[in-house]
């Protein structure tokens, strides 16, 4: 049978894959996708816990409200993040790469 543990495993796997991608990938866009993956994994954990913690015959709506806010905030973050990445990309086209990397170290 499918237990709570199964859901936690899936979400842990998703979270860890996202984390690995954030650390390993160099492309800012892919890194950002991996960050979204981490957030979604957290959401799955939240929903699973809320479903397996049924109270008064209903799943905990408060936890699901947090998921709702997470999704909203993540969408806003994506918008801001992509705008910043885009601005950097525009700047990069016009100047040499090594001066953009002036912050290394």
């Amino acid at each position: 049978m499918i237990t709570l543990q199964h859901y936690l495993w899936v979400s842990a796997a998703l979270f860890c894959i996202g984390l690995a991608g954030v650390v390993a990938r160099r492309n800012a866009l892919v890194v950002y996708m991996c960050l979204e993956m981490m957030l979604s994994a957290a959401n799955l954990t939240l929903v699973a816990f809320s479903r397996f913690g049924v109270r008064d015959g209903l799943p905990d709506v408060n936890a699901q409200a947090l998921v709702f806010f997470t999704i909203t905030v993540a969408a806003a973050e994506v918008a801001v993040g992509l705008a910043i990445i885009l601005a950097l990309f525009r700047a990069k086209q016009r100047i040499e790469t090594d001066s953009v990397n002036a912050l290394q170290g």
């Binding site: 499918i2 860890c16 894959i17 979604s40 008064d56 209903l58 699901q64 409200a65 700047a91 016009r94």
Partner: protein, 197 residues
């Protein structure tokens, strides 16, 4: 949800998530992420979170992924080339992920409810309806009736929570969206001047 379907969607989520990380081409990554999120939405549905599942499809698999693809196309991003430095980072990322995965998986079995099945936590709409009537809380119109019929009016319940209890958070999120909008406009306006560092 049948066991087989769960495994199918779980494999979909994890497999395509792996593909996001492994794919060289960002377009592939974005498309794989969309598929992975659709699988995730199915898992949400299997947890009786219909509203969240729908949201996942609409916002993530829909809007956010379109935004990603749009930016990728706009920037005409090439596939990533591998370098000595990135190989080190890849090893570090892999090690970190595996360690965390082992830890979380092993710890999750120590949870009290970890072995419970969905059947052990049944959703009982009539019970909820009775309890709500007894507590005399302000009710959303029709919510009562739905519950009494034995249905789970998930979207209505969420709506009640968001616009009832969580209205303060909703205001704050609104403020956040204003700031984000202002930021996006300011950051992506076309600049006339030249760049100085």
């Amino acid at each position: 949800m049948p066991v087989l379907l769960f495994y199918l969607f779980a494999a979909l989520v994890v497999g395509f998530a792996l593909a996001v990380v492994l794919a060289r081409n960002p377009v592939t990554s974005a498309l794989c992420l969309a598929v992975s999120f659709v699988g995730l939405a199915a898992l949400f549905l299997s947890l009786d979170a219909y509203f969240i599942g729908t949201l996942q499809v609409l916002v993530y698999a829909g809007a956010v992924m379109v935004l990603f693809l749009f930016i990728i196309m706009l920037m005409d991003v090439k596939a990533e080339e591998s370098s000595a430095r990135s190989r080190g980072a890849q090893a570090a990322g892999f090690a970190l992920a595996v360690l965390l995965l082992i830890e979380v998986v092993s710890i999750s079995s120590a949870l009290k409810r970890s072995g419970d099945t969905l059947g052990q936590h049944p959703i009982s709409a009539p019970l909820a309806a009775k309890l709500r009537q007894q507590s005399g809380r302000p009710l959303l119109k029709g919510l009562e009736a739905d519950l009494a019929k034995g249905e789970l009016p998930d979207a209505k319940l969420m709506g009640e929570a968001l616009f009832g209890r969580h209205v303060f958070h909703l205001q704050l999120v609104g403020l956040l969206l204003v700031v984000a909008t202002v930021g996006v406009v300011a950051l992506s306006r076309k600049d006339g001047g030249s760049l100085s560092s």
